[in-house]
């Protein structure tokens, strides 16, 4: 106790009990240190300086952006544990008897694979550097997250490969992709982020989107933000035919040697706004037009229908956890209507309700 009387502020900074009090104070330690201050009032300045030093150190040691990375690693761990890639098998309906047998066979096969596959996660992604170009390849059976030099993150599906200049360049951030990956890009106005996939270039400022490059075609789907997609042949981005601007939930599929870029809706649209922020996804005897309007707002996708025809249609339902298309199924089934996707719009055809 007496040692504190002759402490310089640095000694406090190095004192275990003092540091522990500053970083995780308890009632006891609070009482203790206030009593020290009472006893050795002349140490006030030293205690203050020491306290400030410890706080500054703690703040300086803090790393930003850990939470997202933590979540990503957890997702990778889960993938490894289940031994399956992120895109799970979609079981189609209406398979009939033969279909059921096939489905069962599928399940049995994947069980066997899990059993025999070594679940031990062995090595890192194959990473090589040559002439300042970094090549990352995912040789694993699960999708894995990787960090890019600007702190953007790429989720690489099995078998995919990305290349980029070490540290990116001052002018831009360019990544060459073969295979499939999902990009979560950090905004940087001064350096556009461009993904080269086959003939296509996807250009963004800061956003998240998926690119799937295959033998004959390339698919680009946007989750958040906005991207512009254009063909490399015409180095002008301004060539209207071969350029598409994509918003969330839109995607474009480009066929090599094909005509142009056609925009459609992604197969699994996600809400672009927080559902809880919307007027209400629980409807009581609500006009169908209001319901469609709510869905449009939630997904940023236009729903077209004949207002007059459906004017009397009312519905009581709550659309919480279903996907967009499931929600449309529910609504259409209830009012005897059907829908189809045309480009980036949804067209609903129905009859009058009674």
């Amino acid at each position: 106790m007496e040692k504190y009387a002759s402490y310089g502020y640095e000694d406090f900074v190095r004192d275990d009990d003092f540091v522990d009090w500053v970083l995780s104070p308890t009632k006891e330690s609070d009482l203790f240190w206030h009593s020290i201050l009472d006893k050795y009032a002349f140490q006030k300045e030293n205690l203050k300086m020491a306290r400030m030093a410890v706080v500054r150190l703690r703040d300086a040691l803090k790393e930003a952006g850990n939470h997202e990375t933590s979540l990503e690693i957890w997702s990778d761990i889960q993938n490894s544990m289940s031994g399956r890639s992120r895109k799970s098998t979609i079981i189609r309906r209406n398979w009939g008897i033969l279909g059921v047998a096939a489905a069962l066979a599928l399940i049995l096969i994947s069980y066997a694979q899990d059993f025999w596959r070594s679940v031990e996660y062995k090595n890192t992604l194959v990473e090589s550097v040559a002439d300042g170009v970094i090549v990352l390849k995912n040789n694993h059976t699960v999708a894995l997250h990787r960090d890019l030099p600007d702190n953007s993150v790429v989720l690489m599906e099995p078998g995919s490969e990305v290349r980029y200049a070490d540290g990116f360049s001052a002018e831009g951030r360019k990544v060459t992709l073969s295979g499939e990956a999902f990009f979560d890009v950090v905004p940087d106005e001064k350096r556009p982020f461009v993904v080269e996939a086959g003939d296509l270039r996807v250009r963004v400022l800061g956003t998240s989107f998926r690119v799937k490059e295959g033998n004959d075609n390339v698919l680009v789907a946007v989750k958040t933000g906005k991207v512009s997609v254009f063909r490399q042949k015409d180095s002008q981005e301004n060539n209207a035919e071969d350029m598409a601007v994509l918003k969330p939930n839109e995607q474009v599929a480009y066929k090599r040697g094909g005509e142009g870029l056609e925009k459609t809706i992604v197969p699994d649209p996600m809400p672009v706004t927080e559902i809880s922020n919307l007027p209400g996804f629980s409807f009581h005897n609500e006009a169908v037009s209001r319901i469609f309007s709510a869905i449009e707002q939630a997904y940023g996708i236009e729903i077209a229908y004949e207002k007059k025809v459906l004017a009397n249609c009312r519905l009581t339902t709550s659309l919480g956890n279903e996907t967009l298309f499931e929600q449309l199924n529910v609504i259409c089934a209830a009012i005897g209507a059907s829908y189809e996707v045309q480009g980036t719009r949804i067209i609903v055809n129905g009859r009058e309700c009674l």
Binding site: Y9, E10, V13, R14, D16, V19, D20, L23, S24, T26, H34, L37, K44, L47, K48, M49, R51, M52, A53, V54, R56, L57, R58, D59, A60, L61, K62, E63, N66, H67, T69, S70, E72, I73, W74, D76, I77, S80, M81, V119, E120, Y121, N123, T124, L125, E127, V129, I134, H145, R146, D147, P149, D166, G167
Partner: protein
């Protein structure tokens, strides 16, 4: 401080195969492990892989693990070992942006202080100063002032003796002294509240 009792319960549940307990352990400690791992390797890809390997490994081998009353220490130690292993087995050219391995540079501390003012900039200059310290001092600073580990725990984790820990701390604080002494008086005023004037 560590909640020993609930630590043991949580760990036991995990050992018994409780996936929620496993997820909870990850939630509690992954952030810290990331910070620590990044500090000592400076390599994001490596630390991702190490944390991935670590948690996958303990899940797969939980039946062979013994009980512990400090999950945090166990994880820190395992991570540290894993990182050493990987470092030894992989060629150094794969370690890009390996900040912590940089040799201490000849920074003129006075210069840094003069050039940068204001809180954000002060933080930045302290950060730079920390990054210019030798690797072991950086690790110790991180463990002491971010993860709040005591001298004994640090000694056990880094497998050095207490005196070495104290010496390293002594040296690093001496290095950083110039930064504490340059902090503006206005912050001192706000701390008056803490000390009741």
């Amino acid at each position: 401080m560590q909640k020993h009792l609930s630590d043991l319960t949580l760990w036991r549940a995990f050992l018994a195969g409780d996936k929620n307990a496993f997820a909870e352990i990850y939630n509690l400690y992954s952030g810290e492990l990331l910070s620590y791992g990044y500090r000592i390797t400076g390599n994001k890809q490596l630390i991702r892989d190490c944390i991935h390997s670590l948690f996958l490994h303990i899940w797969e081998h939980r039946e062979n693990l013994s009980e512990t009353d400090s999950i945090r220490f166990y994880l820190f130690r395992s991570l540290r070992n894993l990182i050493q292993q990987k470092k030894n087995s992989v060629k150094s050219e794969f370690f890009l942006e390996d900040i912590s391995m940089a040799a201490p540079s000849e920074i003129s501390f006075e210069q840094l202080i003069i050039e940068e003012e204001g809180r954000e900039k002060q933080l930045l200059s302290i950060r730079k100063a920390i990054q210019s310290l030798p690797p072991r001092q950086q690790e110790i600073i991180q463990l002491r002032y971010y993860h709040n580990m005591g001298t004994d725990e640090i000694a056990e984790l880094m497998e050095i003796n207490n005196q070495s820990v104290r010496n390293l701390l002594y040296r690093s604080i001496s290095h950083l002294r110039a930064f504490f002494e340059s902090l503006p008086k206005s912050w001192m005023a706000s701390l008056l509240l803490l000390f009741g004037g």
